[in-house]
Symmetry: C2
């Protein structure tokens, strides 16, 4: 355990990781006692981590019933897509003023790596690289609250489960998604703030794709 | 105390109200022991409420130092304005498809009430009515997550303190703001989704006004 990390943060990471990797499933009740035993800690930091996870949207807190993993149905996924679309659109819009040629070159490298990962069906690698790709421009938007909010929403919503989905057309879907990443780079190079904002909002986070992230 | 409200929620309301009304001030340390005594409750629900308030952005949790009221400087206020601008713009964009003539009439009544409140310098009343005005269209955007997020951001950020500010030009500022409310109603009547979205984002939540909400 990281010695600078609070017990609450340790429990937070422990539970959120279980949710993200799918070993805690939608609607599953959180067994507080079991977590206390597994981590050999008292109830207080566990309760604190559960409150934070519920506030962020990972869990539902049902009065007198305790905490459950919040399911993300297709309708809920559409709601998140719309929100992340406008927020990431804003981040990109602002990032145009700060992005350097070095960062654009880095995004181009990531684009090639993502393409290779899709080709050899290493979807787990693709997922990790696309996270880095998006973070590259989000992190330079010069708005700390926006960065924090985008990360929080993505954490509570996107649960890596699609990687494990046996989808016939996952290859095709990711190829299209990666062609969109290429367009995003192009719009950064053109410094076309307006088009970049609407492209990310209306095309890249098109709610048509939300069904792939509902679980 | 509401018998259906958890102790944690009770503490949450108690502290957030103190922050909003200004009796807990920016950078002030939260005295956990004092709250336990004032509400005659144990430390656990107080800790839980503090974690939620920190997750939502009301408080800062400084390791080994405890919780403090987060100050909102002008730069931070600008960050919030940009975020709320795009989110409320999205809400209004979507609400155009659902708004009824009854709701538009209601917004027109609120507009008149706000104008009267400004004229007789009842800025506290103005503040309450403008909240109802914005909620009228936000609540019909058909996106629960968006409604939840907008409310959370506004709660943690806008702290009614401007009402108490001795500002020479508060009258003029609010007159302009209310003329913007009039324009918002007009764009709803015209069902001009695109213009409504950009008007709310770029004019009504213009970051030039953020200085009035920094504390």
């Amino acid at each position: 355990m990281n010695q600078y990390m609070s017990l609450k943060d340790h429990v937070y990471n422990y539970i959120s990781q279980k949710i993200n990797e799918g070993s805690l499933t939608p609607n599953e009740k959180i067994n507080e006692q079991l977590i206390c035993e597994e981590l050999n800690i008292s109830r207080t930091p566990v309760r604190e981590a559960l409150i934070q996870l519920a506030t962020e949207g990972y869990l539902e807190n049902i009065p007198r019933k305790g905490f459950r993993v919040r399911p993300i149905d297709e309708n809920k996924a559409i709601e998140f897509y719309m929100i992340i679309g406008v927020l990431e659109g804003l981040a990109a819009y602002n990032a145009v003023d700060y992005i350097t040629s070095k960062e654009i070159s880095y995004m181009k490298e990531l684009l090639i790596s993502m393409d290779k990962a899709i080709d050899i069906e290493l979807y787990d690698d693709y997922y990790k690289i696309q996270t880095v790709f998006h973070n590259t421009f989000v992190n330079i938007c010069n708005n700390e609250e926006l960065i924090r909010l985008i990360n929080q929403l993505k954490r509570s919503f996107i649960r890596q489960t699609y990687i494990n989905k046996e989808s016939d057309n996952l290859y095709e879907i990711l190829k299209v998604t990666n062609s969109e990443h290429k367009e995003i780079i192009k719009l950064f190079e053109l410094k076309d703030k307006e088009k970049l904002r609407s492209y990310i909002r209306d095309v890249h986070w098109n709610t048509q794709n939300a069904k792939f992230d509902s679980i």
